[in-house]
Amino acid sequence: MTELSFKPTTVDSDIEQTSRPSLSYWQDAFVRLVANKRAIASLVVIVLLLIFAFIAPHVFWTIKHDVQNLDRTSEPPWINRKAMVLPDQDDWQDVHVAAANGEHQAPTALEVVGEPTTSRVRLKWDPVPNAFGYRIYRNIIEPTEDIPLGLSMGVNETGTHVSFEDRLAIRQKPYWYSVVALNEDGTEFEAAKTIYVRPQLAITVSEALELTKAENVQPGDTVSLFWHPLGTDYLGRDMLARLMKGAQVSLTIGIVAPLLFIVLGIIIGSVSGYFGGVVDAGLMRFTDFVIALPFLLFMILFKLLFVPSGDTENWMSKFQEFLGIEGGMLAMVVALVLLSWPGIARLVRGEVLKIREQGYVDASRLLGAPNSWLIGRHMIPNTMGVVLVSFTFAVPATIFTEAFLSFIGMGVVPPTPSWGSMCNDGIRTMEMYPHELLFPALFISITVLAFNLLGDGLRDALDARMRSRE
């Protein structure tokens, strides 16, 4: 072996080079999240929802959520909007005629006077001999031998009063009106006269002028009414505007409440885990105590406290005005924050207990780091992963709780809408007007699903133990 056998090697930089750039924990998580299509789709949905709730009402859809239109209640989106224009003053005199002769039991001629519209249907008929009055019925299916005449709309007290004006919540659909003559004691004659009527949507001249901004509208013209893309509710309020306002309520509570209770949970959990001993025991027993408190009961108590009743100028209402939120929302946020933190606190405490035994913590302490530094620099950042995952799962859970509370009437105070309270309103008329239930229910489902799927994706991305398994 000679010296020639050895020669200095050249430094081969390629060996040392990593094939990919080194990634920090957060960069790594981000890459994994972006690769998860489900999570990204959910994220897009959530961003759209946020735009829907907070930007759209000011930019795209400026209809007020609490403006009522009692002429257009419970309208589905697909309804015909061609309306006939009626004069402003549209009074009608009762028709009285002389008593009739003959044998007939039912009115021989029953007719609609003028155009039947959703604001009124006017009927006139020929008198029946020996009648002491008439009863007028309305049905939505054709009366036959087995099907009764329907809803009694009113009674005319004399046999010569042969007209009737119906104004009771008329809709654009077929009706069958029947007129029956009455005996002196109020019992009905055997035979009835029935007429088919299909009322047309109508508005008055002044309403039409206001609506179309046109200079001249004549009675008898046809105008197209304003379109409600998602229909209207039981007081004729725009469903889309209400859903937007509801989204504000749901998302605000869904994000603010978890943020607050997570902060509270982190503080209590990290202090408890880091100091250990008496502090830990004390705080954890307190946590157990809070877990044992019944949520609904506290919700009711807070609602009583925060929703001002009677004395309108107390400090509580001023505080709410300052915050710009109403009592029901505040009560929900407070109840959620005060009762939901223990889960996070326990989670953080567990993590902190693990981390504080790590070498780098000892090293830092040996270098003279104070407790606040150790907690702030080492403990909390290292628990961020689990905290973030809990947060994304807490959001849909909170939105759901809010919807549930509003559904049972413990949540927002009317007229503030919330998806839950809208579902509650809609469920009563589910069979007749399904859109009132369908849309808010759809929004709750989509939002909760989106947040859950995003949470799933975040957990996969952040949880280090999951990495090698894929």
């Binding site: 609490d66 329907g150 009694s152 009677g310 007229p415 309103d425 009563r428």
Partner: protein
């Protein structure tokens, strides 16, 4: 070793879609399976089969739903309509109402009433369900108990026409001083405080029902709390009372007029207040009668059910808080609110159920006047919405109150879904037209009464049902001495007119005084009458002879009978 970063492959997400589909499918299958199992389990256990079908021809009985459970059935302390309905079936007072609301002899066969005294001759064949005879002493005992301050009866005031009743209630006199004495077992003598022309009509009210003293004392304070802690003298007896779920009435065989009772049993098999649940019971033929709310009417029509109407006699109104510290004590503010109200709009577009009549006066249209109906003889004040006038009134009110903007008002109302809708309507109405912010305060009935009593509201949605068939049952509501005048409205002229009506026996004088009352209430805008309630309901047409009425037991099944449908 350095961790290798592996980006999840895209195939993971496509397969996860399949996974999701599989999960959803699995979840649905499991749910279906579970529901099927539960269905068979309940069938096997016989849950839900215990209650009979709506009409049972074999046992000659019917099944009904009770809107709420009677808190108790001690007639001296009852206040609610459900208790009134049950008591009307199982008890009988001196008189009773017939099918057409005529006064029929009950326990009393005949009576003489002069200005200040009355003598009632009782039938000797009336027995309690434990066999003891019903005597005049039972009436004296019940009435003394009701006015006894220790009983704390909320309806003691209805006995105030009796001599010394009010003094006894306010602990000035002993209960024995009450103006009712049993001359013998079957003769009852009554002394009145002042001439009370409508006294005979009061006697059908449940506070006037008799109670057997011996039995009452033997229950040691439990009287009226259970089926066993009551004895009955009416057409039916309570055979079973399972609190919270069921109340069964059976024919009383000791009742003197038992031949007129044609049903053998009335089973209140359900105690449910939810209107939709009640309709579902009717749809599945579990009960014979169900009330209809606006949201259920179209369903009833589409099913071709026979719909009936009933005017229950009550009047609904917005009550104002007249306490000085409240903005609503200002007449101009109340007038402003009155002027934006349109009762027809409320009835036709918000309530949406037929039968309701737009309110014009606190006196409903069915009340009798001098000869015909009161409202035909003395028409209500004319009212028409007038926004301009309302704004003028509001400006005057703001000047008087020294405010720069309209005050915020509390609207106290019930906790039902209808109450929400109704309150939201007014919230919008007052805001759009007058700029008045309204806050809605929804409370359960008891809490609402408490808040009304303590004056913790500005506007309250209230209603009043008649206790007896006379104009005064509505007329004296807003007198300064009436405990139900919770808004503390005070008007001397109104008070005087009510006193005239209470004391005069001339119908015309009385009705003229009541006419003044309805005008004062409108002019002062003491209240805003909203509507007279009429309700729609569906009823099984195999049950006949049911009486619905505004005053007294409602619905009344005491003379009901079953009709078999004709088979084709």
């Amino acid at each position: 070793m350095v961790d290798t970063v592996q980006a999840p492959k895209s195939s993971v997400s496509t397969s996860s879609v399949w996974q999701l589909v599989k999960y959803i499918f699995l979840a649905f299958t499991l749910m279906l399976l579970l529901l099927t199992c539960l269905h068979f389990v309940t069938l096997g256990l016989g849950i839900g089969t215990e209650s009979n079908a709506a009409v049972d021809f074999e046992s000659n009985s019917i099944t009904l739903n009770l809107g709420s459970e009677p808190p108790q059935l001690n007639s001296t302390r009852s206040t609610d309509m459900v208790s009134g309905q049950i008591l009307g079936h199982v008890m009988e007072g001196l008189i009773r109402y017939g099918p057409n609301n005529e006064i029929l002899p009950g326990i009393a066969t005949s009576w003489d009433i002069s200005e200040l005294t009355g003598t009632f001759y009782l039938r000797e064949d009336a027995y309690w369900s434990n066999g003891t005879p019903v005597t005049a002493h039972d009436f004296v005992f019940a009435w003394q108990t009701a006015v006894d301050p220790e009983t704390k009866s909320q309806y003691a005031f209805i006995l105030y026409p009796l001599k010394n009743a009010e003094a006894i209630k306010s602990e000035i006199m002993a209960v024995e001083e009450l103006g009712a004495t049993a001359l013998n077992d079957y003769t009852l003598q009554v002394e009145l405080e002042q001439p009370t022309p409508y006294f005979i009509k009061l006697l059908a009210f449940f506070t006037y029902l008799p109670i057997n003293r011996e039995f009452y004392e033997s229950t040691e304070g439990r009287y009226g709390t259970n089926a066993e802690d009551l004895i009955y003298n009416g057409p039916f007896v309570i055979s079973k009372w399972q609190h919270g779920s069921r109340l069964r009435l059976e024919k009383n065989h000791t009742y003197w007029n038992k031949d007129e009772t044609r049903l053998d049993a009335i089973d209140f098999g359900y105690i449910l207040s939810d209107p939709t649940a009640t309709i579902n019971l009717f749809a599945t033929e579990k009960i014979v009668m169900a009330g209809l709310q606006a949201e259920n009417i179209e369903r009833a029509l589409a099913n071709g059910w026979p719909i009936k109407e009933h005017v229950d006699g009550s009047v609904f109104y917005l009550g104002f808080n007249h306490r000085e510290e409240r903005p609503t004590s200002n007449r101009n503010l109340r007038k402003a609110i009155q002027m934006v109200c349109d009762q027809e709009e409320l009835v036709f577009k918000v309530l949406k159920t037929p039968g309701n009549r737009p309110g014009e006066s606190i006196f409903p249209v069915w009340l009798k006047g001098v000869e015909g109906f009161f409202r035909d003889e003395y028409p209500a004040p004319k009212h028409e919405r007038n926004i301009e006038l309302a704004k003028q009134y509001l400006n005057n009110a703001l000047n008087e109150l020294g405010l720069s903007e309209p005050p915020r008002l509390m609207f106290l109302t019930g906790d039902s879904e209808f109450s929400t809708k109704h309150a939201e309507y007014y919230q919008n109405l007052l805001k759009q037209n007058l700029g008045i912010e309204v806050r809605i305060d929804q409370q359960i009935f008891q809490q609402r009464l408490e808040k009304m009593t303590s004056g913790d509201y500005d506007i309250v949605a209230a209603g009043w049902g008649p206790d007896y068939d006379d104009v005064l049952t509505f007329g004296d509501l807003f007198t300064s001495w009436n405990a139900n005048n919770r808004g503390l409205f005070k008007n001397d002229e109104l008070d005087q007119n009510v006193q005239i009506a209470q004391q005069s026996s001339d119908p015309r004088t009385r009705m003229e005084a009541m006419d003044r009352v309805q005008h004062i209430l409108y002019e002062e805008a003491a209240i805003i009458v909203e509507y007279e309630r009429g309700s729609s309901y569906v009823a099984d047409d195999r049950v006949q002879g049911v009486t619905r009425r505004a005053v007294g037991t409602d619905p009344d099944f005491t003379r009901a009978y079953l009709v078999k449908p004709e088979t084709e």
